[in-house]
């Protein structure tokens, strides 16, 4: 006496439709559980991707050198002042290119200066750097060329400006080839930065870039603010880091007075933290799935006692205990599957709403989370219906049929 599967589906569907309130309540419970998992993990994953993306835009295999030591070795007036014992220089930067593992370097000087064109003038962050900066930071040019490949210590009256600066100083006018004044010197605009060249710390749209030697002249300094070093490979990062410390120590009379940080270390930490966060919120959301499961059990128990007469009748008509269990489980399976699908759609809608509200956040639920949510939903639905189903199967048909 095997039931035909279409018959099982038909009967379960009929039972669900026969008790719409119960069905809708359980659907909602299931859907909330699943959509919570989908939305929360998509938030966590979105946050992770967002941070990773921001760090990646700093450049890959990047080692950053800046003057001063971050560890405090005893208290002295200079540590309190935050003053550095010895500045980095362009020669230091140049020395760092002498390793097989170093692909390219970019020294940076940052300051602010008045930038003016005709009658318009504006205080702007000026970055002095070199040709390789564009590649290291993965920046995009909108127009023209980037800074020329010239020796680090050679000044040149050319500038690359951010798109916002162009809009403010030149308006609708063509900026390429025009002269503008930075501080007390004149520079010719040779390029305009694209708007996607955003990264942590610097908003390239609102900066002006000039060769580093020119920047040192404007700011009247011989020091370098930072040196970005790009290693050839990920594996080369550690050797490069050691090479930098050794080289600069040698050049600074045996004193280690620089700090070298690798961006990958930071990146990995963030990756780990945010990954763990995603699992954590996913786990918390999964609790709501368990709650939904328990709710299903309760409602199924009520359903069984509500339908005592029907179950007794099925027994009288020749349904075996196994068939009763199958029918109840099929009902639960149908219910939790429908609930899971509804929840999945709701969850996707939710993450879409998050992406709509925060376009920067790539809030897509990871595939594993969706899969786990769906599978856990269906399994809890089934598992928690097992007890009510067995109770139904054990029901005494005599009592069931004599009720009222």
């Amino acid at each position: 006496m095997a039931l035909h599967s279409p018959d099982i589906a038909w009967f379960s569907w009929g039972a669900l439709r026969g008790y719409p309130t119960r069905t809708i309540l359980m659907l909602i419970a299931m859907a909330i559980g699943v959509s919570a998992v989908v939305v929360l993990t998509s938030l966590g994953e979105g946050a992770r991707l967002y941070v990773m993306d921001r760090f990646a835009s700093l450049g890959t295999n990047l080692v950053i050198v800046f003057p001063g030591r971050s560890e405090t070795a005893g208290i002295n007036p200079t540590t309190m002042m935050g003053e550095t014992p010895r500045d980095l220089t362009l020669d230091d930067a140049l020395a760092l290119t002498r390793s097989y593992n170093v692909r390219r370097i970019a020294p940076i000087n940052v300051g602010s200066a008045d930038v003016s064109h005709l009658s318009r003038s504006r205080e702007v962050v000026v970055i002095g750097t070199n040709h390789d900066m564009l590649t290291i930071r993965h920046w995009q040019l909108a127009q023209g060329k980037f800074l020329p490949e010239i020796d680090l210590d050679r000044a040149s009256p050319v500038t690359v400006i951010g798109s916002k600066i162009r809009d403010e100083l030149f308006g609708a006018e063509r900026a390429l080839g025009k002269w503008l004044r930075i501080g007390d010197r004149r520079f010719r605009v040779i390029g305009v930065m694209g708007s996607e060249g955003r990264s942590i710390g610097v908003d390239v749209e609102e900066t002006v870039m000039i060769p580093i030697a020119s920047a040192q002249q404007i700011f009247n300094t011989s020091s370098v603010f930072r040196i970005l070093v790009e290693a050839k490979t990920r594996e080369a990062i550690e050797p490069v880091k050691q090479f930098i410390i050794d080289t600069l120590q040698e050049r600074h009379q045996g004193i280690t007075d620089v700090t070298v940080i690798t961006q990958d270390a930071v990146l990995e930490t963030f990756d780990r933290i945010l990954g763990a966060l995603t699992y954590a919120v996913g786990g918390i959301a999964a609790i709501s799935l368990a709650v939904a499961g328990i709710l299903i059990m309760n409602v199924m128990l009520v359903a069984v006692s509500q339908r005592t007469a029907e179950i007794g009748l099925l027994k009288a008509l020749g349904a075996s205990p196994g068939q009763i269990i199958i029918l109840i489980l099929a009902e639960a399976l149908l219910l939790s599957t429908l609930g899971a699908i509804t929840g999945y759609l709701l969850g996707q809608l939710g993450s879409w709403a998050i992406r709509y509200a925060f376009p920067d956040l790539p809030a897509y639920a990871p595939a594993w989370a969706v899969l786990v949510a769906l599978v856990v939903a269906v399994i809890t639905g089934l598992l928690f219906s097992l007890m009510p189903a067995r109770r139904a199967a054990r029901l005494d048909p005599v009592l069931a049929l004599s009720g009222r």
């Binding site: 006496m1 039931l3 008509l317 020749g318 068939q323 005599v398």
Partner: protein, 234 residues
Amino acid sequence: MIELSSIHRDFQVGDQTVHALDDVTLTIESGEYVSIMGPSGSGKSTLLNLLGLLDRPSSGRYCLNDQDVTLLSDIEQAQVRNREIGFVFQMFHLVPRLTAAENVELPLILAGVAPAQRAPKVVKALGDLGLSDRSHHKPDQLSGGQRQRVAIARATVTEPDVLLADEPTGNLDHKSGQDVIRILEALNQRGITLIMVTHDPEMGQRARRQLHMMDGRLDIDRLNSSQNTSHGAA
């Protein structure tokens, strides 16, 4: 053929043992028309449930068509119920969300009959009871008499040997009750064993063989000679 020998059915109520059936021995031949009467609590419903395999005896033997059904497993008993026994209840017990045709189809679904083979049987069962035009009505759109006819169609669609009726007219007005009883008797004429529990002496006396129960025992087993006796009784 139904053979009960020394059937006991005891219930534990508190610390008291109630003998719902007390040493009942009974043989009912195929095609008989039997009514079971008696006051409330005399054990007639228990006897009917036991005959229908909805209940197991505490002791004793029950042979249905030469097979000792008390030895069968739950699954085998369910099969026997499905194939050889039809139930008609006082409360009809139709599934409210299903149409008349779907209610009639249920036993066939449970028996695993293929959909294509089910349809003609359902149509015939409903047609035999004059319900062809009601087949797509839900129970709440049917009158009491019609509901009981649907229930009878459901009980007979698997062509069982035995039809067990528990106060089949108890919830019906007089006329519908008469209709239902005539339908059951017509089924009996065609060979089905009809066993009916009833309170109503008028209904009970229509049966060829009348059993009377008192305190779990069969105290009267009488043949009614005034009825036509085309089917011989033991």
